[in-house]
Symmetry: C2
Subunit: 686 residues, 2 copies
């Protein structure tokens, strides 16, 4: 390992982090940036836009760090929901295990001098592998238990919520009458006492796209329309661009009116016809809804398929695959595409990177020739460009995976994100961890995977060789990613641009935490820490620093930036648990390989039971905790239902239930006549 | 292939079969053999023991074949239940596919002469693989659908049965009060309207063994006690053995009295204390029972675990593992032991076979030396003994696997047998099919399995090489096994022996069909037929002959011999379906290998989608049909429950429900005073 290179990298990145943090502490105080850095407080009215200038705004201050640090778990829970809490617990969990591993490795240092032999050092490592595995499993069990109990107490303390009383029924068989009638007769027949009502889902894909058009058009009109309350100085420089403003307004307003009319027509059409073969079915009790979900309803198991309804705000309306066979096939196709995408992702990347050699560049961009002849510039470009291209491609992965999950047939944003989280995680492990270890050779990766016998041996050779790369990776990619998360570069730039072209507006969309992007990243650094802790203990301080940074920064973001988009009540934890188990088993397999490679076959054999025990532990956890994350127990459901019996507000709740699940595409719109009331369609379509 | 050897084998085995069938047709007419060959008719009183002799009894007659042949499906259903029907459908299914494959292969024969090239012949085989796969999948779908609909109509036409209203609750948490109280309060609290009652399971292992002792003792006493109604002539030769009969009787009777007293004491003890942490819980409706089964009851998923109760006659009383963790561990251990037993079974067999060389034999049994020097004798012994040893070891497998399934924690005979069926099937495939193909080298089998890339290539080399062996195997092992099934050699010999030593008795145990022994065997011949149909089409007539024989013989046995021990309503079919899918995929993988080996890489590549499609088909079937075999749908359950509402006998049914699940070990016994009433404990403990 080249210590100087590592030190340089650490130095540069520490400086960058400090710079980012300092800049942030200044920028967040500027009122024009409140939309980027304090949107939550802005919406809640805590931070008012103060236009008057004062000097204090330009001095960096660490107050926000203390605030984020002092946030209690209960405060965090009320701000970010159970999902935010689960996310933060991934970080505290990682801090705990890497502190423990770090202390363990430091304690073995004094032993090292008087057992210089590699042989004895390996036995120390052997013990460390066992002790750390035990500690992680113990913590995993404790965490799973804690989050399970939080989930249950969340349910117990929850007010009656529409999704608790609702199931979504899919694959309703075609009949002579309307879908609505057949749903009604089916459930009235089966559950006369507990069935309440239903809402048939309607096909609104076309309306959705019309609505988007209308919204965009409306935004344009609103910007062009002269607004006497707003200052016009800022637009001075740009005003010549809008010379023919009044003409534009007229044309756009006409167009908007057309779209609006078309929209209303389509909406009324869809309300009358356009029934999809799916419906939300409401019950009087939570128990009835849960029982309907668990039991096969129809004699034919591929009809009347039930699933627990998501929260109304969480429903993913645009895509309702209705028939069993279509959903099954789309799921198969998406899984296949995801696997192929994951495995072959590096092929086009390597191809594009190949295009960036000097001669190719000169041919493509002749005007750069003179610049490229300077040695320093050409070195920077050819050295940095491939890595930049890889980073750009990697940026596309979370949205790509989210898109794939979308067409897989999930019915809620939360399910889509959870599925995308798993996909992105596997993608990262394959394309960063294994691709680096195998130096990007997909063929040798595949042939190793397909030949289980050689896996430990091969991994023991290739993984330790990349230790210095991954230590640097933690410092560069890890520290940078988390401080840019704080800095929110892309939203900041977008905000700058929109402020140039539009008038500032109190209406803006609150950002949601992109779990499918952040959870895989955090978990991946956990995987790096676990797999390298005994091969290269030097990684531990850097990983720990990453998680400490992440601890402060994400808490700050939950407090100031992100609002919960949904509440899965901790359903992300099983993914985290599985990822940790995978990291553990991977580490153990590498340990088996390394001990065998170093001719310590005794230790190698004695490590073999460890992955088996870890998998058994995982299996036990699956049985002990996983059912809690699938549905609620009869005991809890019935207890909650009993509480409602004496609640006088339940009658009203039942009445409102039917209106809870309304497709936003079918909400009546009104743009042209009254412009001030448009905020609702804009936000509801978000 | 040595045609003469095959012809010899076919000749000998045909002769043997004819001999067996002829002998059977004579022996079944002898009244003393009714217990062996016609026990069903005997119990139903259709065949009375006729002691008078007539000549017709000695003349073989084929009437039974016609009777078995003409049995309609509905008659078979009423005789053998849905399980018997499923068993016969495996055979008719196999007959259909091998007839189709046979016709297909015969049709390609005329093409063969004018496309003598191997190349073109391989393309014909390629098409055959596709066509036969399609045909089998079509039939599999049709069969699954048929058996599903029979299962549903069985449920619709069934009278109210105790197990439909009952769930078995396991892992009841320990509390301060009795288990019975906590069951009562738990279910009364949750389901006040549908909960009916419960019966706590009691620990009766000790009583069970005492009961066995008492039964054995009673049998001995009953045999020794002078019985004036029975003829004594037959015992003349043996009477001196029982010289001190009266002494014996006194001693035994005293002992029996002691055991009986002890037994009653233990029974009353168990009735008071000795509660296991499991209970049968009864509900008012089938729907409530099924919902209780599907929903997680307690907040802790490892407590109050529910499963659908088996039929009362089907309950396996002796072994009730109660706690979740103990059941889980015993399951894991049993699965591990089964795998190790399956993989390493051949090691001791080969070792024992190694002991049977001439010098070892001479050393062990010196008195045989003179005999062993005769060349003919020594050849027979050394050639035949290893195969005999293998056969003897193989006989042990079904009971061994049944025993393993027993301690796995299943609660019913049917579950035990279904699990044993799967175990025996895998055992047979591994230890007969693969062991033969790899010439018994476990190491090369394991290394092939662990290296997926080489599987098709290796199988393509080793499997076709054993074609002649497996054709002979179908003739020798297949034909013999099915005709010995008819002949019932072991029960026949046992009957002969017991008749020598005891007085004939109208009390005897009706035999149950050993599904876990016969289903794997039938399926294995299916696997042989499917894997070899295109490599060695010569196997088809022999396999067909086997299935035709099996068709007649098993129908005869269902009619005359076996009584159903339980009714799973077709739950064996998914195992059959999976086995067929496995056979198909195995055949396709071998085809891929063979085409590659014969330098027909185009056909090899084009065969690759076939296993994928087959597995997708299987996945679809799992979704479409498997849920039907796990539980019943809400629709059917509620329909049946509605029917009961107007049934006046339901009140009585509910009253009797609590008595339906009584541990036979707790039924009061009475031997000593009244000897004629003992039949009931004897049969109930069977």
């Amino acid at each position: 390992m080249i210590v100087s290179a590592l030190l340089t990298s650490v130095g540069i990145n520490t400086a960058l982090c400090v710079l980012f943090l300092t800049l942030y502490s200044v920028l967040r105080k500027q009122p024009s940036n409140y939309e980027v850095y304090l949107p939550r407080l802005l919406v809640e009215g805590i931070s008012k836009r103060r236009s008057h200038f004062n000097l204090e705004r330009l001095i960096p201050s660490p107050g926000w760090v203390a605030k984020a640090w002092n946030l209690s778990e209960e405060e965090l829970y009320s701000l970010a929901g159970l999902d935010g809490l689960v996310f933060m617990r991934i970080i505290t969990f990682s801090v705990k295990i890497f502190t423990f591993a770090g202390i363990l490795m430091v304690l073995t240092l004094p032993i090292a001098p008087w057992m210089c032999s590699l042989y004895q050092m390996l036995w120390v490592h052997f013990c460390a592998v066992y002790v750390v595995t035990g500690f992680i499993c113990f913590l995993l069990f404790y965490e799973y238990k804690h989050i399970s109990s939080r989930r249950i107490s969340y349910f117990y303390s929850s007010k009656p919520q529409p999704h608790q009383f609702t199931v979504l029924v899919n694959s309703i068989p075609a009949s002579s009458g309307s879908i609505s009638d057949s749903v009604d007769s089916f459930f009235k027949e089966l559950y006369p006492s507990s069935y309440l009502s239903h809402v048939v889902v309607r096909r609104t894909n076309k309306i959705q796209s019309l609505l988007n058009d209308a919204n965009n058009m409306y935004k344009r009109v609103a910007q062009l329309r002269p607004d006497p309350t707003k200052r016009k100085i800022r637009h001075g420089a740009l005003s010549r661009l809008f010379g023919k403003r009044s003409n534009h307004i007229e044309r756009y307003e006409k167009k908007l009116e057309e779209i609006e009319e078309n929209l209303r027509l389509k909406q009324s059409e869809a309300s009358l016809a356009g029934e999809a073969r799916a419906a939300f079915v409401f019950f009087r009790t939570r128990f009835a809804a849960e029982a309907t979900f668990h039991l096969q309803q129809s004699v034919n198991p591929t009809q009347w398929i039930t699933e627990l309804a998501p929260e109304p705000r969480d429903v993913y309306w645009p895509f309702f695959s209705e028939s069993f066979i279509r959903r099954w096939i789309s799921k198969l196709v998406v899984v296949l595409v995801s696997i192929v995408f994951t495995i072959l992702f590096l092929v086009p990347v390597v191809f594009v990177q190949g295009l960036t050699n000097l001669s190719q560049l000169k041919a493509l961009l002749p005007f750069l020739t003179s610049l490229l002849t300077i040695k320093f510039v050409s070195q920077i470009i050819t050295g940095y460009l491939p890595s930049l291209i890889l980073q750009l491609f990697l940026l596309l992965v979370p949205p790509a995976m989210e898109f794939l999950s979308t067409i897989q047939g999930y019915i809620s944003h939360s399910d889509i994100e959870r599925s995308a989280t798993t996909k992105v995680l596997w993608f990262t492990i394959w394309n960063v961890f294994f691709a680096t270890a195998f130096s990007g050779s997909i063929l040798s990766m595949m042939s190793t995977i397909l030949d289980p016998k050689v896996i430990p041996g091969t991994l023991a050779v290739v993984v330790p060789a990349q230790a210095s790369f991954f230590i640097t990776y933690v410092v560069t990619s890890g520290w940078t990613s988390v401080s840019s998360e704080l800095f929110r570069i892309i939203p900041y730039i977008l905000n700058l641009i929109t402020r140039l072209f539009t008038t500032p507006d109190d209406e803006f969309e609150l950002p949601y935490m992109p779990y499918h992007k952040d959870i895989p990243r955090v978990l991946f650094f956990g995987l790096l820490g676990i797999t390298y802790f005994f091969q290269a203990p030097l990684i531990l301080p850097f990983v720990l620093a990453y998680f400490c940074l992440a601890y402060v920064i994400y808490r700050n973001q939950f407090m100031n930036v992100y609002v919960p988009r949904y509440e899965t009540a901790g359903k992300f934890w099983p993914t985290v648990h599985n990822s940790m188990i995978f990291s553990l088993v991977l580490m153990q397999i590498i340990a088996v390989g390394i001990f065998a490679l170093k001719k310590l076959s005794m230790a190698s054999t004695m490590t073999l039971p460890l992955p088996v025990l870890t998998l058994l532990f995982n299996e036990y956890c699956r049985k002990r905790f996983l059912p809690i994350f699938v549905g609620y127990s009869a005991e809890s459901l019935i207890k909650k239902d009993r509480e409602d019996l004496n609640d006088p507000t339940m009658a009203e709740f039942y009445n409102n239930l039917i209106n809870a699940y309304k497709d936003p595409a079918l909400v009546p719109v009104q743009y042209s006549s009254n412009t001030d009331s448009l905020s609702s369609p804009l936000i509801s379509s978000a």
